[in-house]
Symmetry: C2
Subunit: 185 residues, 2 copies
């Protein structure tokens, strides 16, 4: 049974066969919106997936110093991915460094606190804009409304990012108001 990263790669390959290099790029975006990996993770994981019979590759005459390998999922790979999607999922621990910092924000003066919240807000607003842009390109596509098309799933996840980032931006505005109320001037 592959790792989470392995399933991320299978998810990418189920949408479109790719080289390791392409997978590493696609892991930055769009998959990077909710899962990231560098190429130094991708290549060994591809080898493990291949050893498990979940992906296979053919060699295309390449442009680098080594042979260029194009990977695609096997029937077993697609089946494993399909099964994993609906498998039991333990509640996920949250890991948010920004919130961890805000939790100790009572130690600093209100001006420094406001500055921090502004920077946090900017980050969320930037992500929000990126999600909106991605969703806009999907808007015209008919497949985005067909539950068996990958574009449908892309639309679901983008909509989720949109809503949580929108909530985060509103939260930051609320915090700024709280800080201003508590310490005016």
């Amino acid at each position: 049974m592959p790792s989470d990263l392995g399933h991320a790669l299978l998810g990418l390959l189920a949408r479109r066969p790719s080289t390791g290099y392409e997978l590493a790029r696609r892991m930055q975006r769009p998959v990077g919106w909710f899962w990231t990996a560098g190429h130094s993770q991708v290549y060994p994981e591809l080898a493990r997936l291949e050893a498990a019979g979940l992906v296979r590759h053919d060699v295309v005459p390449g442009r680098g110093p080594r042979a260029t390998k194009r990977y695609a999922p096997t029937a077993a790979g697609t089946a494993a991915l399909r099964q994993w999607v609906t498998a039991e999922l333990a509640p996920q621990p949250v890991r948010d460094l920004e919130v961890l910092r805000l939790w100790s924000v009572w130690l600093v003066d209100p001006e420094a606190a406001s500055d921090l919240v502004h920077r946090v807000r900017d980050g969320h607003a930037q992500r929000l804009a990126a999600y909106e842009a991605d969703l806009a390109t999907l808007d015209g596509v008919a497949a985005a409304h067909d539950p068996s098309a990958p574009e449908f799933a892309s639309r679901l996840t983008l909509e989720g990012g949109l809503r949580t980032r929108r909530a985060a931006v509103e939260w930051c505005d609320w915090m700024l108001a709280e800080l201003a109320r508590a310490a005016p001037g």
Copy 2:
């Protein structure tokens, strides 16, 4: 300079001196809402913080087989924490296994997809309830409105969790409607 975990522990100790065991428990909740660690991470990190002069301990005649050590931040420790709170913060990569699964949900039939979304919704709703309960206990406390009190920061972070979880639950409801619309039956 301590790790993120080190700053999490300093944040706990700045609120209340504790033993390693208590810190490990407090890392489950409330800090566990946004950062987690087990006791096997806590003890070595406390030793590192002490070696760096950021915490110190006194020995209280203990109940375990070894001496019970109660830790508190030093002046340097509190200063380091205060500085870290407002320090430069690189944009954080998101890591969300639930969204990663939903991204491949186009591979499964609409009934299985709805079931998955229901389970995701339950998880968010449970967390939302926990946040609401924690916020309710803070509601009566006057310190929760004083920006220099730790309860103020607790209120900020809980409010953030509340808003993002609320958005997530609404997102799940939206997905269920989308799935029902696309595949009625």
